[in-house]
Amino acid sequence: MAIFSFLRSTVLSKIVMAITGVLLLLFIIGHLVGNLQIYLGPEPLNTYAQFLKSIGEILWIVRIVLFVSLVLHIITSLYLSSINNSAKPVKYQVVNYAKAKINSRSMLVTGIMIFAFITYHLLHFTFGITNPEHYEQHELTVKKAYVLPGNVSEEQLKSMPKNCFVEQNILTERHDVYKMVVLGFRNPFISLAYIVAVVLLGFHLSHAIKSCFHTLGVTGPKFTPWMERCSTIFSIIITLLYVSIPISVLLGLVGGGV
């Protein structure tokens, strides 16, 4: 396919890895900000979830961009790995790395494990397939509405002032994301899988973020060491914040009322 012709060049492939990586990282940050609202209680989190679903087209654009990024990221990494393996058919008897740390050498393995988790995570919380009893949670919320006065056409409605209508509270149903997350994380196995996956993600990011800067040419003698420290700290912070959610649920700090 023409879209994959960039794979013929190792440099272009690396640039594709970096750009798709940046898009996926932006999602990781956005998703974290959304998730952290669990600490604010059920109301803000469920309202946020409702808001995400209400923006329809934009949500789908984001989903499509993320899906394409993920597919390109995975295909490119697998392709590059096959090139890299064939470029070094005989390994050294003595392996003695000077700078390559375990995080950079395990990118493919951590990447595959993260992908496996993403698949499970989507089946669990987005599609509600693996644990429908967690997913099928709804709450009733009160909304303001106006009572329609008898036989009035739409044209007439528009010209009528607001005070012509009687205001009433109506009950609507919405997805109770808060309850779903709390029930999900109360299962210690699900929490453990989540924690392991997020730690692997942090490990992946600790090499990925600085690699993005490097591949995209954002480097300098003073900037690079500073940037490398910052990306490590940033990866640790992201990991800790994500991990804090299942731990808080397991400790009963969040979701006590569920």
Partner: protein, 249 residues
């Protein structure tokens, strides 16, 4: 000093090689590693055995001919040094040394520790030069070069093309070599006319030779006997991107 050497012996490109163990006694600490192998070879010849084949030329650390991996590190563990400048005093008495050829698909073993590095020459032939008119050279000062550019170009031009970057890279990538050779010319006025063509041609040749891709391990920088910075790879990526997009317009 005493050493136990495990040296890779391989008859030719197609035959299967293996490690041979040699015990060395009375090694002077002032010897370079190559000089120690010279002594070993004299012994082997006097015993009627085949001496160990290895590449070497200037023995001053500037030609890039000597190529061997010592205990997993091309040119040995000492930073910014070629094998010929690696002296035995850098090791501990009684050390065991594993000496292997540079390993990469693009560097087939010719014999023992000698590998064929002509893939690097073909990358240079693809565009690592400037085209100049014949005739009298113009006055040197007629082309102004900013000091910063000249310094940076010199840093890149330190590359002696030894291939340690390829040998040390877990992916067998030649990105540091290619980046240094592209950037030394891209940074100078004389390199401008063929700048875009050069970046594309050299990187395409690099890919054709079967080198791997960069995964930012930075092993190349750590093992480069000339301490060439991986930041040149960063610059090369951008150089390639701008050349490739300009070509498509």
């Amino acid at each position: 000093m005493k050493f136990t050497l495990h040296i890779w012996r391989q008859k030719d490109t197609t035959s299967k090689g293996s490690f041979e163990t040699y015990k060395m006694e009375d090694v002077s600490e002032h010897m370079s590693l190559l000089e120690m192998i010279d002594v070993l070879n004299e012994q082997l010849i006097s015993e009627g055995k085949e001496p160990i084949a290895f590449d070497h030329d200037c023995r001053e650390g500037i030609c890039g001919a000597c190529s061997m991996t010592i205990n997993g590190r091309p040119h040995g563990n000492m930073k910014g040094t070629t094998t010929c400048q690696l002296h035995m005093r850098m090791f501990k008495d009684g050390d065991e040394l594993w000496i292997e050829p540079f390993r990469a698909r693009a560097f087939p073993v010719i014999k023992d520790l000698v590998v064929d590095r002509s893939a690097l020459d073909r990358i240079i032939a693809a565009g690592g030069y400037v085209t100049v008119n014949t005739g009298a050279a113009q006055d040197a000062n007629s082309i102004p070069v900013p000091k910063e550019s000249a310094d940076l170009a010199m840093d890149a031009a330190q590359c002696i093309g030894c291939g340690a970057c390829v040998a040390s890279c877990p992916n067998g990538a030649a990105m540091l070599f290619t980046a240094a050779k592209i950037m030394q010319l891209a940074l100078l006025p004389q390199g401008q006319p063929e700048r875009k063509k050069r970046a594309i041609a050299m990187i395409e040749q690099m890919d054709k030779e079967g080198f791997g891709a960069c995964r930012n391990y930075y092993e190349c920088e750590a093992n480069c006997p000339k301490n060439i910075s991986v930041r040149f790879i960063s610059r090369m990526n951008i150089e390639f991107l701008s050349a490739a997009t300009a070509k498509s317009m």
